[in-house]
């Protein structure tokens, strides 16, 4: 078991000191090498869940375990990739990708070589000198992925990374994500509100429910790769899971 969430609750306080429990006694197991896709409506606590796994937030109750170790603080072993990329606007592509290595005090020569390797991997060679504002959204997200990979994390946590992108760019990055996963076999926890995306990418999908703040259903995706979202099997599965997504939601 790579990631184990045990009876997690997370309570936020609004400005009027009202309690809001976004996660309620949530339990979830994610296996080594899983491409786990978590689907849920916005506000269902998906992002919070990723921050808990990343160690950037602490649960109010319950515990997060990675390799049976309690997660108490952030670590470069599990890296979060943000929807808005979280690139430093005053650094060019090269320096953004080197950021993690710089923090880890890797010597400059090695930094440069490692960054170059991952910049090539995500197809951004030739753009090293460009600044984030000169890049399209898709390219920014490639930079963020390259930066995350430089420290060779065991777990990638992705928070709706492609939802701000246009459909064409998004589908291309999804394909690249699958190839990356097949290549590096990292454990990936991928959050999305798009069931199609989850079924295209994942080895397992979890359905998150906003009313209860829990994962109400997990299912192994047995569809063969490369997957096509138009195929009969894909559509059938998508329709079935959509039912569960709708049921869980109290309207």
């Amino acid at each position: 078991m790579k990631v184990k969430l045990r009876e997690i609750s997370k309570v936020f306080y609004s400005e009027k000191s009202e309690e809001k429990e976004v996660l309620q006694r949530l339990s979830l197991d994610i296996y080594e090498g899983d491409f786990f896709c978590l689907v849920g409506t916005s506000g269902s606590g998906k992002s919070t869940l990723l921050k808990l796994i990343a160690g950037l937030e602490r649960p109010t109750r319950g515990e997060v375990l990675i390799d049976d170790q309690l997660v108490e603080r952030p670590s470069a072993k599990q890296v979060l990739i943000f929807q808005d990329y979280a690139l430093l606007p005053w650094r060019n592509v090269q320096d953004n990708v080197e950021f993690g290595l710089e923090i880890q005090k890797i010597p400059p020569a090695k930094r440069r070589a490692t960054a170059e390797k991952y910049i090539r991997l995500v197809g951004l060679n030739g753009h090293e000198g460009k600044y984030p504002r000169e890049l399209s959204g898709g390219m920014c997200q490639r930079v963020a992925v390259a930066r995350a990979l430089t420290l060779n994390p065991e777990i990638l946590l992705m928070d709706e990374p492609f939802s701000a992108l246009d459909t064409i760019t998004r589908e291309r990055l999804e394909e690249e994500m699958v190839r990356l996963w097949e290549l590096e076999r990292k454990t990936i926890v991928f959050v999305t509100h798009d069931l199609r995306e989850a079924l295209f990418l994942g080895t397992r999908v979890g359905i998150m429910d906003s009313t209860y703040g829990r994962v109400v259903e997990t299912e192994k995706i047995e569809l063969p790769r490369p997957r096509r979202s138009g195929s009969a099997a894909f559509t059938a599965l998508q329709d079935r899971l959509k039912q569960k997504l709708a049921w869980g939601r109290a309207i």
């Binding site: 979280a86 430093l88 880890q104 090539r120 197809g123 000169e134 890049l135």
Partner: protein
């Protein structure tokens, strides 16, 4: 002359054209007001007389002396305000408790015009440089302090989370994320404070000291030399413009040196797009 230089001058002359026209119109109107006796000469010296006064002040070395005295006070007052205001402001912005504790007091002190402090300044420091420096300090300190505190709001939480995720501790967060992100807002505060400091420098010098451009105005008035009064006013305006330009230039240079600069080098295409092939699997 290379083509690039030529283009540069052409640009410059095009951008200078309107302001110069306005300036000339302004001088003509001014001269006209006096010539037509709408404003008698005794009430408004015409531009030519002011120019003569300016030449006299420059030639006698008086002007340079007063400018020197003013700039010296300015550098001290403004420099102290920046040296105290930026770190204190950052501290204030970073710690909720400090902000809660000190915030209201600052909000009460801030709207008090630095000029209202002049009696106390003279009581504490006597008439002399220190009183004037104190006034300049007050004029710029709160602006710098508050903009430095507010600059931390410019730092996106995601950037901090990202850095912490990679193992950044307080020092790295401050030097590699917070300061670069807050820098433009801090610089803006420094520029606004500069204007305020320069304005109040003159006010301080009119009361507390016996030298400087503010004193030159009062002294000329006492001698009924209104041409010199206006000449000194113009010098104050021009110097203010120059100092503002200088601070902005220095700020940009520093930003580039420290790698805080948001300005990207010139590039052919602004957005290159996702044209390149799928390369995740190229390895």
């Amino acid at each position: 002359m290379t083509a690039k230089m030529y283009a540069h001058f052409k640009n410059l002359s095009r951008s200078a054209y309107l302001p110069v026209l306005t300036f000339i119109t302004f001088l003509l109107l001014w001269q006209g007001l006096v010539e037509t006796n709408l404003f008698p000469r005794a009430y408004l010296p015409p531009p030519l007389e002011v120019a003569v006064a300016l030449l006299y002040l420059t030639g006698s070395g008086l002007l340079l002396e007063h400018i020197g005295a003013s700039l010296w006070r300015f550098i001290w007052g403004y420099g102290l305000a920046a040296a105290a205001g930026i770190p204190l402001g950052l501290l204030l912005g970073r710690t909720n408790k400090a902000r809660e504790a000190v915030g209201p007091l600052i909000q009460i002190l801030r709207p008090i015009s630095p000029i209202a402090w002049i009696p106390l300044a003279i009581l504490w420091f006597g008439t002399g440089n220190n009183a004037a420096i104190f006034i300049i300090f007050l004029a710029s300190f709160f602006i710098i302090l508050l903009s430095a505190a507010a600059s931390l709001n410019q730092v996106e939480k995601n950037l901090l989370d990202m850095a912490r995720n990679f193992g950044a501790k307080e020092k790295d967060l401050l030097l590699k994320v917070i300061l670069p992100a807050a820098y433009p807002q801090i610089l803006l505060g420094l520029q606004v404070a500069l204007g305020a400091a320069w304005i109040h420098l003159v006010a301080g010098e009119m009361i507390a000291v016996q030298s400087g451009l503010g004193f030159l105005i009062i002294d000329s008035r006492n001698l009924l030399r209104y041409d010199s009064v206006i000449a000194a006013m113009l010098v104050i305006g021009l110097l203010g413009l120059f100092i503002n330009w200088f601070i902005k230039k220095a700020g940009d240079t520093a930003a580039r040196k420290w790698g805080f600069s948001y300005a990207a080098p010139e590039s052919e295409s602004k957005v290159a797009g996702d044209k390149q092939s799928i390369l995740f699997g190229e390895k």
